[in-house]
Every structure is written in C-alpha cells, then in structure tokens.
Amino acid sequence: MTTTPDQTHGEQVLAQATEALRLHTPSGWQVFRVNLLETVRRAYRPSAPIRGRHEQGEFVVSCDVLTADVREAVDRLPQAEVTAVRCVTDEDDHLELLTVETGVRYGAHVPTTAEEVRTAVVATVRELLGEVEGVRVHVHVGDVFQEGPPRTLG
C-alpha cells in the first residue's frame, strides 16, 4: 500500500500507518519466544510406540525419537539427507520395517551413498533399540540435491 496523488487524505494516512505497522515488531517478542520454545520442547508429539530390548527386558520408545535419531545420523554423511522416515511395527510394537527416504548430493555415487545411509541407520537402530531381530531397513533414494542446507541449524 503506497501513497499516490489521487488518494484521499484518509487513504494516504492509511498507507503511511500500514507501513508503520508492517515494520513494527510486537513488544515482548523475545521473552515470549524463549517461553514458546521451552513449551514446544516439552510438548508431546503423538507417535507410534516401538519396542526395544536390553539385558533386563524390553522397553518402549516412540517412532518420533527413532526418526530424529535417524535424521541426525544421516546428517553426518556429506552426500545424503533424509526426506522422510516411516516405521512399520507388528501387533506387539516390534519394529519390522524402517524405510528411510533420502536425497543424495548431485555427483555422488548412488549405490555407495545408499549403503552408507543404510549402515548409519542400522547402527542407529541398534544403538536405540538394542539387538532387535528381524528389522528390515529400506533406503529409498528419491531426490538429488545440488547444494544441501546447512547440516547444523543450531
């Protein structure tokens, strides 16, 4: 909204006031932001349970946790990034299939990169769930990217 000579006085005032409002950052934003991020950090995100195993028995983690760990593991690889993670469990919440959809950097050798992703994902599953058996890991390369986003946003 800009001012023009054929505008009424009210329209010109409105245009100037709109510009002032557009540039205004609401007061209290910085304090609110900190509280908001803390609230989100504690927020529960609905997610399917997955059963893990250690020496003393079984335990349950959420698919959301596994997804985040898989993303972090693949983020360490320079040639790949995760675009989606899907978990399939049986009726007792044991992980049966983990599908990791990835993009690979342009020019990277796809089979080699996919194998690196698979190795990283399998290690992550073992680290998080223990020595679970019968888990299939599928790596699906569905995208090629030229220049990836920063690996670490923090």
């Binding site: 009210g10 409105l14 950052t25 609110f32 932001r33 609230t39 993303r71 920063p150 946003l153």
Partner: protein, 189 residues
C-alpha cells in the same frame, strides 16, 4: 552462519522440523513468530489471549509437521492455525461474531486523544496506534483479510486459503475494510 540460516527455504525447515529437528523449528518460530504475534495482537488485544493463541498455533504446528504435505506454503499454514486459534477465542466472547468490538464513537474519541497527546513518541508510532484503533472497527474476517494482505503481504489466494473462502470473497472483504479504515483515519492530522 546467520546468513546460511536465513537462506534455508521454508519447505526444508518444515521437513526437518517434521523429522524432529528442533533447531529447524526454532528457525520457523523466529521467521514467522513476530508476524503471527502481530496478527493475533490485532485480532484479540488481550495480551494473555494473544500469546496463548500464538502458542497454540505453534504447538499445533509442531505436532502437525510430521504429516504436513506442503499443499500450501508453510507461512499460509501457520496463519491458518493462528486464525483458527484466534477465532476460537473470539467465539468465547459475548460480543464476538461479525460485529466490531467497540462503537465507532469510542474509536473516534480515542483517536482524537491520541492525535492531541503531546507525549506521543513519534509520528510513526502514533500512526500505528491510530491504525490499531481503527482496526477494532472491522469484524474479525475483514480484519484478518486486511492484515494478511496489507501488512503480511499474502496473496489473495493465500488469504482465501487462511479464511477458508474464495479469492472473490477476499476482494470484497478488503474493499469494505479499506473503506472503513480510510474513512476512520480521514480526520487524522
């Protein structure tokens, strides 16, 4: 690093946040939070309601991002969540609905006081406050359409998506809101 962070597109941030990346979500909050707070602030006015509304919108976003398909832009989706949260609060108020919250005469009186206030800090802040007063004369849907189009720069189609209506209806809402605001501010000097 800040420049790199600023260049990360919204769809990448949405995808990463959906995969549990809280740093990506914090970047979404930094990028869109002030606009959502400004929108909610001009719709609800009570500071506790405003912050609760924006918090609800971002919590809904955090929970919804794993299934966010990107049918609309991230920004449009966030404004839609905020609009739902704000309108839900408006419905709880006895004088909500399609009518403005305060009488025209009251707004005119307050505008006169503001105009004659020798303590006002600057022309820009006085103009902004005058506009914020005048906005109270608009019903919530008109106000939403005007704020999203004129202040936040959404397209007609994006505003229609946020309001769950058509672009033609948005043009009508904007026409009426501009007329009301310009008329209200006509005596401002």
């Amino acid at each position: 690093m800040d420049a790199e962070r600023a260049e990360v597109p919204d769809d990448v941030l949405a995808r990463r946040a959906g995969l549990g990346d809280r740093d990506a979500f914090a970047l979404i909050v930094d990028r869109h939070g002030p606009a959502l707070l400004r929108y909610a602030g001009n719709l609800l006015h009570r500071s506790d309601q405003v912050e609760d509304c924006v918090q609800d919108a971002f919590l809904a976003a955090w929970r919804g991002l794993p299934t966010f398909r990107g049918d609309s832009s991230l920004r449009t989706w966030l404004f839609t969540l905020a609009r739902h949260a704000a309108f839900a609060r408006l419905r709880r108020w006895p004088n909500a609905g399609s009518r403005p919250f305060i009488p025209v005469e009251e707004v005119q009186d307050r505008l006169r006081d503001l105009r004659e206030d020798p303590e006002r800090s600057s022309v820009e802040s006085a103009l902004r406050e005058a506009l914020e007063l005048a906005l109270q004369l608009l019903p919530p849907r008109q106000r939403t359409a005007w704020l999203l189009r004129e202040v936040e720069g959404l397209s007609y189609e994006e505003v229609a998506s946020v309001l769950g209506t058509t672009s033609t209806a948005v043009r009508g809402l904007l026409e009426r809101s501009r007329t009301t605001l310009a008329t209200t501010l006509e005596e401002w000097r």
